[in-house]
């Protein structure tokens, strides 16, 4: 299977991204200069051992956090120039989110949760698209239920539907299967895969689960705040190998230090 990366501008781009906490000797470089293009219409995984900066990278690219240095573009817009209000609007309209847990507002029903970003933006939902998404996650009969009445897998699927409802430029998923059993996890991952294949959606997923990463078109490995490696069309064993090597390197470095 070969997917040619489109020549057009990427869905999101990071250039020499740095994020430093603290200053002087005690400074911690969560991101030490990451440059990364996330191509449109592809399913990318960001992996790395804990502390590698993968969450920070995602937060910066998703307009949830501001980098210390470097720039981020989402759909051609430079985030550095935007104020909080504009960033909020950008998140609402151009970015979809799926978090590991606590994805839904407990007081709203499933359908209200799905429509929430659109409602906040005051946009009319595209009914046809919405039906397509809802059918794709297979939750048509659960739309009037509140989150507490849904299983964990169902809740994550509602979150996925919400992320796609506004037809964003890019969907960021932060360990979306971290709290799920393997069957529910597989359902969520298949759906994300389908959204890329069938709807041409761009999805970026932070994970440390090799199985989850194996659903992706591309895996980017981070260590110590830098992109250290990447694989196209990965297989599970391949990913595990890379991960193991990264961990050994990290372990070796920490014993030296």
């Amino acid at each position: 299977m070969t997917v040619t990366p489109p020549a057009a501008s990427p869905a999101a781009r990071a250039v020499d991204l740095r994020k430093t906490y603290g200053s002087g000797d005690s400074a911690v470089h969560a991101l030490a200069g990451v440059s990364l293009d996330l191509e449109a219409g592809r399913f990318t995984a960001i992996m790395g051992p804990s502390g590698s900066g993968k969450s920070t990278l995602m937060h910066c690219m998703a307009a949830l956090d501001t980098p210390t240095e470097g720039s981020v573009e989402v759909g051609g817009t430079d985030l550095g120039r935007l104020k909080d209000k504009e960033l909020t609007a950008l998140r609402r309209e151009r970015i979809g989110f799926v978090f590991q847990a606590f994805n839904l507002i407990p007081t709203l029903t499933a359908s209200e949760n799905i429509l929430l970003p659109l409602n906040l933006a005051g946009r009319k939902p595209d009914r046809q698209w919405l039906d397509t998404v809802i059918d794709a996650v297979g939750l048509r009969d659960r739309l009037d239920h509140r989150p507490t009445e849904l299983s964990g897998g169902q809740q994550q699927r509602v979150a996925c539907a919400r992320a796609l409802a506004s037809q964003p430029s890019i969907v960021f998923a932060d360990e979306p299967t971290g709290n799920l059993d393997s069957t529910s996890g597989a359902e969520v991952l298949s759906f994300l895969r389908r959204s890329v294949d069938d709807f041409g959606q761009t999805v970026v997923m932070v994970t440390h689960d090799a199985v989850a990463a194996s659903y992706c078109d591309r895996v980017v490995f981070l260590a110590d705040g830098l992109v250290v490696d990447e694989i196209q069309d990965p297989q599970r064993e391949q990913i595990l190998e890379h991960m193991t090597r990264l961990q050994e390197l990290a372990a070796a470095r920490s014993t030296r230090a």
Partner: protein
């Protein structure tokens, strides 16, 4: 995790400070009132004791402060003074002349004092007080010696803009009303200040000229005991020479009588204030209950861990209670300090209306401190008890569960019990309205207390429709933001209900008072409409009698056909005191009383009595009636007619000229004026105003002005009550701030999610503000509904006095608007805090 713990700790400190604030304010109000009451009574005590001599010889049945506008015309001759002075037990005897009804005018002709504390006029003597000190101290100048000299108190001289040597303008209650006297000095009571009273001190001859028509006589005699003679021995000895109709009493008795008389008045003020302090404390208690409930819910995991580690239920409960004790002790300490300041504020407020309380009497005594601590800590403990017990019930296994919210019982049991208690209240109210035994209003009052407290308990149930309505309305007006706010207010009905309850209590009282005041106003209008049949009425602002010269002047005004005079006084019938009105012949031309038996017109020694009075004393037309006046003289009369009680007459009405036979000095209390046919009411009204201008104690009212003047008094009291209830509302607002703040902390992750998926800060703030408004509106609507029902029922039970029902609809709308404003204000801090939450912190997984 450490970060979270630290953040929690800081957050909890804020929570404790917020709930502590409710106690601080409650205790401050309470201790402020206690300190103020102490200051009030000690101010009067010290004046009373420092101005009372060892003994007094006075007319029987007169009590020192109990003059009430009626004076005695019985006097003692100077020979009695000499005879008393000659007694071996008596060191000295001084004749006193006491004038009631004298008024002081400022140099610009306006009235000084008048509405608040009394104006006391008397002659200056050197009689020492019980402690052997002079009763009064000069602060400047000298004592009066000539008849046309006067000494004022410092405040009066200041307010009147008089300096030593100036001619002071006075208004006498008898005869020629305008007088002048030269200011020769200023003085105050030895006990400190004057408590706001205006003092006019004359020479003995000057006082006799003014109050006794120049006769050389006295109203009473002050005695000073010889060395080694007790007050009792002095009084016994003096009794042997006192003329008939006079009695000799000890200084202690005089002081006690004065204290009793003043004490009744002071008790009214203190009790009145205390009621509001207690309301504030109760409202504060509700907030404590709510805060501790939420704190326990949020800490249930921590508490469960303690239980898992082996802490007993008791230990967990006690740890929560201990927290409450520490918090309330700190809060009460601050509150007591604040109360001391508040007492000064109250004193300043009362000074403004003419009741001067010496600043150095406003001290925190031990009982006030003990009571304040006991109430502050006690209320907090009681309020924290249920949440603390619930804390002890947290199961150890909850520590292991992800979702550690304590289990919630269904609201059904609460609803059933609450409904039953409400029904019980309704039953009690029904007894009151249908006229059960005892005062009807008391039954309604008990029902009101039951209803308010029960409504607070089941506010989570009865408030639901209001909240659902809010959700719909907000959703329509504010879209998703409004919808979310409505949902948030509904998600924990107990919490929303308990928070709203504090506001509900305040508004129930405010609305109830509002209904009563509106009813009072419409009833006044009705009465005035029906009974104000004169063209003009002339009265003094405090209904004290004034000189007959005023009436003489008004009779001369062009266009006036009749000036009917009426004098009110008090008399004894059997053993009770009744109001007696003396009406002149013109009265019957103007007033058509509602006669149930006999006739209105009186001839000779006849009297009219009200039906109530007739029932109490078993009288009917033709029955004899004996009135004993303050001077001790009695009149034997025959009942000529029985009338329905009205505002135009007292319990008993007699011909005006008979009052002189009762020893009552002739004055007027009320003048009713009829104009000549065709006279221009506006022009004559102006001429009448001009005619009374030199006598600012009285005013001319037409029907509208008269109704307005009464309404003004009602409204003044109403605003004062509103002002006092405002503190309870402030405490309720703190409760809303508290609950919202705690909810924001609890919903940190949800807020983070909303921000992440695109809710702007402004919308987030709006969401929290709308939730706050929902709580405030819930409290306001429940309170107003309860207040209306209670007010209407109370009015019904008081229908004898409040003849018609008035609903302050305009005010209710204002209250609702205020509630919305309160909601918006209460949300400011929590909303800003929520909007400043770091999105990343908020969504970070634990």
């Amino acid at each position: 995790m450490l970060k979270l713990t630290l953040r929690n700790l800081v957050a909890r400190k804020v929570r404790l400070v917020m709930s502590g604030l409710a106690i601080v304010l409650g205790v401050a109000f309470l201790s402020g009132v206690l300190v103020f009451s102490n200051g009030l009574s000690s101010t009067f005590d010290s004046i009373i004791y420092s101005s009372t001599p060892d003994g007094v010889v006075r007319a029987e049945q007169t009590a020192s402060f109990d003059a009430g506008g009626a004076t005695t015309s019985q006097t003692i001759s100077p020979e009695v003074v000499d005879r008393l002075a000659a007694l071996p037990e008596v060191a000295r005897a001084d004749g006193d002349v006491v004038g009631v009804g004298m008024s002081l005018l400022a140099s610009d002709g306006t009235l000084i004092g008048g509405t608040g504390a009394p104006t006391l006029a008397f002659n200056h003597t050197d009689t020492p007080n019980m402690a052997g000190e002079p009763p009064m101290l000069l602060t400047s100048g000298r004592w009066p010696t000539a008849p046309d000299e006067v000494v004022l108190d410092d405040a009066a001289a200041d307010n009147g803009d008089y300096a030593l040597g100036d001619e002071v303008k006075l208004l006498a209650p008898f005869g020629k009303s305008q007088r002048t006297a030269t200011l020769v000095g200023t003085a105050e009571f030895n006990g400190g200040g004057t408590a706001g009273a205006t003092l006019l001190v004359f020479s003995t001859q000057g006082a006799q000229d003014l109050f006794l028509d120049g006769a050389d006589a006295f109203h009473q005699i002050s005695l000073t005991a010889a060395d080694g003679v007790s007050q009792e021995q002095l009084a016994e000895a003096a009794a042997t020479v006192a003329p008939s109709g006079f009695e000799a009493v000890t200084g202690d008795q005089v002081a006690e009588e004065s204290q009793d008389a003043v004490g009744q008045f002071l008790d009214v003020i203190s009790t009145f204030l205390l009621v509001f302090a207690i309301i504030a404390v109760i409202v504060g208690g509700f907030i404590i209950v709510n805060t501790f409930t939420i704190l326990v819910a949020q800490r249930s995991r921590e508490l469960a861990l303690l239980r898992a580690l082996g802490a007993s239920r008791r230990q967990v409960t006690q740890s929560v209670l201990l927290e409450a004790v520490v918090m309330s002790a700190v809060a009460a300490t601050i509150g007591i300090g604040l109360g001391w300041l508040l007492a000064r504020g109250l004193a300043a407020l009362f000074r403004a209306v003419g009741l001067d309380i010496a600043g150095d009497t406003l001290t925190l005594d031990a009982p006030a401190v003990v009571i304040s601590y006991a109430v502050g800590i006690g209320v907090t403990l009681v309020a924290a008890f249920l949440p603390a017990r619930r804390a002890g019930k947290v199961a150890p296994v909850a520590a292991m569960r992800a979702d550690a919210a304590p289990e919630r019982h269904s609201l059904r049991r609460r609803t059933i019990i609450g409904g039953a208690v409400m029904a019980l209240g309704a039953l009690i109210a029904a007894v009151g309205v249908l006229g059960g035994p005892g005062p009807d209003a008391l039954w309604v009052g008990i029902a009101a207390a039951i209803w308010i407290l029960t409504a607070a308990g089941i506010s989570s149930v009865i408030g639901r429709p209001v909240l659902v309505l809010c959700r719909g309305l907000f959703g329509r007006l504010f879209g998703t933001t409004g919808r979310l706010a409505g949902e948030n207010a509904l998600r924990d009905p107990r919490r929303t209900g308990a928070t709203a309850s504090a506001l509900m209590i305040g508004l129930a009282l405010v609305s109830c008072i509002g209904v009563l005041a509106a009813s009072l106003n419409t009833s006044v209008d009705d009465v005035v409409d029906e009974q104000f049949t004169a063209d003009f009425l002339v009265q003094s602002s405090n209904f004290l009698p004034f000189s007959t010269v005023v009436g003489d002047d008004l009779e001369k005004v062009d266009g006036v056909a009749t000036v009917s005079r009426q004098q009110w006084t008090a008399a004894q019938v059997d053993d009770s005191t009744v109001f007696v009105t003396g009406n002149d012949a013109g009265f019957d031309d103007i007033y058509d009383l509602d006669v149930t038996d006999g006739r209105q017109q009186l001839q000779g020694k006849e009297a009219l009595v009200t039906t109530g009075f007739a029932d109490d004393h078993g009288l009917e037309v033709g029955a004899p009636l004996k009135l004993t006046f303050l001077a001790g003289k009695a009149l034997d009369l025959e009942v000529a007619g029985i009338i329905e009680g009205s505002e135009t007459t007292g319990d008993v009405s007699i011909p005006l000229d008979l009052l002189a036979d009762g020893g009552v000095p002739r004055q007027d209390t009320s003048l009713s004026i009829l104009l000549e046919p065709g006279a221009d009411a506006v022009a004559v009204g102006k001429a009448l105003d001009d005619a009374v201008a030199p006598t600012p104690v009285v005013a001319v009212y037409d029907k509208q002005e008269f109704a307005d003047s009464i309404r003004d008094q009602v409204n003044q009291l109403l605003y004062m009550i509103y002002g006092l209830l405002a503190l309870a509302i402030v405490i309720a607002v703190i409760g809303i701030v508290n609950t919202l703040g705690l909810s924001v902390i609890e919903r940190t992750r949800e807020i983070g999610l909303l921000r992440a998926i695109g809710m702007s800060r402004a919308r987030l703030r709006r969401m929290i503000t709308l939730e706050s408004v929902a709580i405030a509106v819930l409290g306001a609507l429940l309170g107003m509904a309860l207040g209306l029902v209670i007010g209407v029922l109370l009015r019904q039970s008081l229908k004898d006095n409040l003849t018609s029902l008035g609903l302050p609809l305009g005010q209710l709308v204002v209250f609702l608007v205020i509630a919305v404003v309160v909601g918006v204000l209460a949300a400011i801090v929590p909303a800003v805090r929520a909007s400043r939450l770091n999105v990343l912190d908020a969504i970070a997984t634990e």
